[in-house]
Amino acid sequence: MIRKDTLLYKLTQLHWFLLLTIIALATFGSLVLFSAGSSAHDLETGLLKIDATMSIAHMWRFILMLGVMLAVSLLPLRLWASLAYPGYAIGVVLLLLVEVAGNIVNGSQRWLTIGPLTLQPSELMKIAVPLALARFYHQMFAAGRSELWIHIVAFIMVAIPVAFVLKQPDLGTSLMILGTGCGVIFFAGISLRVVAGIMLLVAVMAPVVYFFGLHDYQRERIHTMVDPNADPLGAGYQLLQGQIAIGSGGLAGKGFMEGAQKELEYIPEQNTDFIFTIIAEEFGFVGAMVMLAAWAIAIVQGMVIAGTSRSSFGSLAASGFVTTLMLYVGINIGMVIGLLPVVGIPLPLISYGGTAIVTVMIGFGLLMAVHLNRANDMTLRGLL
């Protein structure tokens, strides 16, 4: 019998089902990236072409992040709770710094260079915001409060980083942070009537925002989504070519490495944000549904973990992260198949490169930590 206070015991208590789902998704991602670099009948030579560079790099990145994830999950949850506010504060300060001294990439200011490090503080906020909110609510609930004003305070905590990220401008990430934050507020029990009222307000305000609040290129993306055929060689090009790849995949797909659209460089960003086009083309409707099912399993498992936690900090942090996951997958696939306008959001664990894998794996680590500490009804007194 293993003693309960050892690391080994903790390991046996990990949520193995969720862990296996994650590993399966990342391995699938590596496989897809292998296909993205290779071709069964290369157009130049007609021969088999193999390029596993991206695939191997993706696997290494995942293995490294798997280590980080385990470390996050095995450290005490109380530690993460104590880091919630400082993390949030540092994130806001960094966002402010980006505003002042950030690097401009693709016309947008997102990166901060500190010595050899390049940071994207907006990415950090995807984790820091739900953690800070969870801790805030935990303390409020412990103090017996559940009035509307605590939700208003929570919303302000969300709105500050969202405003900064929106100004970079990075619509995709700001929507992610806003969505995650609102998710936590929703889970924290804000009255459904208020929710309905806000949704009504958003519906009314949407046209106003569309015409006055968006940049030209953002408006163009929305227009493109509605009618990609309007300008098949311009703005709608990527979308249309992506849909041709997806649609031509059919029920069972063209087969591994048999995708034709990727070879002619028709689809920009096909290895990153538009990776789903390769999945749908080569593995067909069936393959796409299997992958969606894997994500659904991960999300449901996350919700189960949120439900079994005895502390409200754990429950809310877990549900916040699950919201992030759902937004990632939903927005990415939604945009690739033409249900949502094109915003730069990758498909986590599958898209090549990017910082999404870091965010998502730290999030899974926290989810696992909540699971390991589910029986602990934490008191957060005495924390910073």
Binding site: E44, G46, I246, L264, I299, I337
Partner: protein, 672 residues
């Protein structure tokens, strides 16, 4: 209350999961629509319409002479290409060879291609990478083009195109300076990739560097694209070439191009126009004047430093090279003993012979080693360091001073002058006259002649000896180690005529920046030195001088002012070809030059300027194996200078090309 929330939380989770279910349902429905219900539609689209981005070769910059005559321009080009993967999609190499071979055979019959050419094409078309166009033939007549166009629908993979091709309207006249363009080979592409990466400052393994390398590679593989192989075409490749645009090609299922889609944001930028200081009329006149002789002439405008003509003759027609020259005529060019492929004016190093006496005279006067009135006796030979050195006139000149020494080109006088001055001082003055320097003119090639001294000899990889006093004696008459290119000799005579104020020589006046910061300045000589040397050169073309017959440029006083009745001053030279020593009789006297085989005869040199009072044009002429500088070189120099004075090209300001109208998204791009 905490308890209230605990009761509320499960329902919130259910609402969330419900929303998630709706999202999943939405995604599934859309995927089903695309992949199940509209699969056929998308499959057709995927196969039928393909859009391919291809680089579009930009318009190459035109090269003009100083009057705006086109020396290198672009003409319309009808050409035919083959896309191998359209000609045959068979995966079996043998079958593919057969099918592609058939297409090449049929189009080859139409265009009367040789068997060898067809074999090369087939080899090319079946070697990976196959996903590119192969040039079948270009520079076609309209009739040939029309025929292929009519047949094209039956010939899979063949398409008839219209583009631009380089053309050299003056043919051989500027072969060596302008060079020519040709299809880029692997080495050219590699060179251009490295060059462009260096200019852009990108590492070859960085993502930007890789993208640039791919773009450069694809451009130079385009069937209508050429690369500068030598001359200005090669040196100025980056500027002349321009920036490639892109075309979007709409292809059908077989890869045939259905349509070209114009897109303004993808337009390229035409290359820069380049203007040379040379005058095509003078250049042509010089080439005609040389006739069948092999040689070189370089004329420089003393007032501006602009090169007026730069002739190396004979020369091939660069138009022969643009579409690839066959091996037999190329072999003939290579083996011609008159070296048509060799840029004699810029790459040819010759002993300057007696023309070097200008430098020795100036050095002797500058250092005070010789006084102008110091006399040297000449008996036909002189004794230095245990051996005799011969004068070119075996019976001797008698008593010589500086003026008569130059006038008669007396070797004995200059043996003495060199001995007294010493090689180090001669070398310094030679550098100040512009010798021993490779001039950066904006063309490929170019050599620096040798201005020898003790240090040079010690460091020379094959000699590695100290300087012997006897070496100085040979150097005194421009023999031995002293060498110069015709271009350097032209600078030497231009500086002798113009003095310290003469601007640095240059060939390009507009379109390319060609800095040459390492030119040795002439500097001021002691008062009277240059005047005495010029006076000596004037004596050369006066009665009794070595080139007395060529002195007057305007015997009938027909030239307009200020050139009316102009005369020239100059210096002849006849330089032995290396290895001639053994062609001497038992008494050490040279066998008469005219009786030697052509390639062993002396080179004939003449350097001159005109008019004598206010020098404007300076010219260096070398006639390879022409035997006598004064008999063969001087008349050519005289005629070139007379022609230059008659047409006075240096007085006309150089042509400035008009701004080209460019249809480009970012407005008219002005080449600099």
């Amino acid at each position: 209350m905490n308890r209230d929330w605990k009761n509320l939380f499960p329902s919130r989770r259910m609402i969330f999961l419900g929303a998630g279910g709706v999202v999943l349902l939405g995604l599934t429905a859309r995927l089903a629509e695309l992949q199940l219900f509209r699969q056929a539609e998308f499959e057709t689209k995927a196969r039928e319409v393909r859009i391919k981005l291809e680089p579009a070769p930009p318009h190459r910059g035109t090269i003009y002479d100083r009057s705006g005559r086109e020396l290198a321009s672009s003409k319309r080009n009808f050409y035919v290409t083959l896309r191998p993967e359209v000609a045959s999609q068979d995966r079996d190499l043998q079958k593919r060879r057969q099918e592609i071979g058939e297409v090449i055979e049929r189009v080859g019959r139409l265009l009367r291609l040789s068997e060898a050419k067809k074999r090369t094409l087939l080899q090319d078309a079946t070697t990976p990478p196959g996903h590119r166009d192969i040039l079948i033939a270009d520079d076609l007549t309209w009739e040939e083009f029309a025929q292929v166009n009519v047949m094209a629908p039956e010939l899979a993979g063949i398409s008839a195109e219209v583009g631009e091709l380089r053309s050299y309207p003056l043919q051989a006249a500027f072969y060596h300076t302008i060079g020519y363009v040709q299809k880029a080979n692997e080495a050219d592409i590699q060179r251009m990739v490295e060059h462009e990466l260096t200019v852009a400052g990108e590492a070859p393994d960085s993502p930007e560097g890789k993208a640039r390398a791919t773009a450069v590679r694809r451009l130079y593989k385009h069937p209508a694209m050429r690369v500068g192989k030598q001359g200005i075409e090669a040196y100025g490749e980056l500027a002349l070439k321009g920036d490639p645009g892109k075309v979007r090609l709409l292809q059908n299922a077989t890869g045939r191009v259905i349509d070209r889609l114009p897109s303004e944001d993808l337009a390229g930028k035409p290359g820069a126009d380049v203007v040379l200081s040379v005058d095509a009329d003078l250049q042509n006149f010089a080439i005609q004047r040389f006739g069948s002789e092999a040689g070189s002439a370089v004329m420089i405008d003393v007032a501006t430093g602009e090169v007026m003509c730069m002739v190396s003759t004979p020369a091939p027609d660069p138009n022969l090279f643009v579409s690839g020259i066959a091996s037999a005529p190329y072999k003939a060019l290579r083996e011609d003993e008159r070296n048509p492929l060799y840029h004699k004016a810029y790459d040819g190093v010759y002993n300057p012979g007696s023309t070097f006496k200008i430098v020795v005279a100036a050095a002797a006067l500058e250092t005070g080693a010789m006084d102008p009135e110091d006399t040297v006796p000449c008996s036909g030979k002189a004794w230095y360091y245990n051996r005799f050195y011969n004068c070119w006139k075996p019976e001797g000149h008698g008593t010589m001073n500086l003026r008569t020494g130059l006038k008669n080109s007396c070797d004995c006088y200059f043996y003495r002058a060199a001995e007294r001055t010493g090689i180090e001082e001669i070398a310094k003055v030679a550098k100040r006259f512009g010798l021993g320097h490779r001039y950066e003119l904006g063309i490929t090639g170019g050599k620096a002649g040798v201005v020898p001294n003790n240090e040079w000899k010690l460091n020379h990889p094959r000699i590695k000896e100290r300087w012997y006093p006897g070496d100085t004696i040979s150097a005194g008459i421009g023999q031995g180690y002293v060498t110069a290119t015709p271009f350097e000799m032209a600078v030497m005579i231009a500086r002798a005529a113009g003095g310290a104020g003469m601007p640095d020589p240059h060939l390009i006046v507009n379109g390319l920046r060609v800095p040459d910061p390492t030119i040795t300045p002439m500097g001021e000589f002691k008062p009277g030195v240059l005047e005495l040397v010029r006076d000596g050169m004037l004596a050369v073309t006066e009665g009794g001088g070595t080139a007395a017959a060529s002195g007057s440029l305007d015997p009938e006083n027909k030239l307009p002012a200020p050139y009316t009745g102009a005369r020239m001053a100059g210096k002849s030279g006849s330089a032995q070809v290396i290895g001639l020593d053994k062609y001497r009789d038992s008494r050490g006297r040279a066998i008469s030059n005219d009786k030697l085989p052509w390639h062993l005869r002396d080179n004939a040199l003449f350097v001159a300027y005109a008019p004598i009072d206010k020098p404007r044009y300076a010219v260096a002429v070398i006639v390879e194996h022409g035997v006598s500088g004064s008999r063969v070189g001087a008349p050519i120099a005289r005629d070139l200078l007379a022609h230059a004075l008659r047409t006075d090209p240096g007085a006309r300001k150089a042509f400035v090309p008009k701004t080209r109208d460019i249809a480009s998204a970012d407005g008219a791009a002005q080449p600099t």
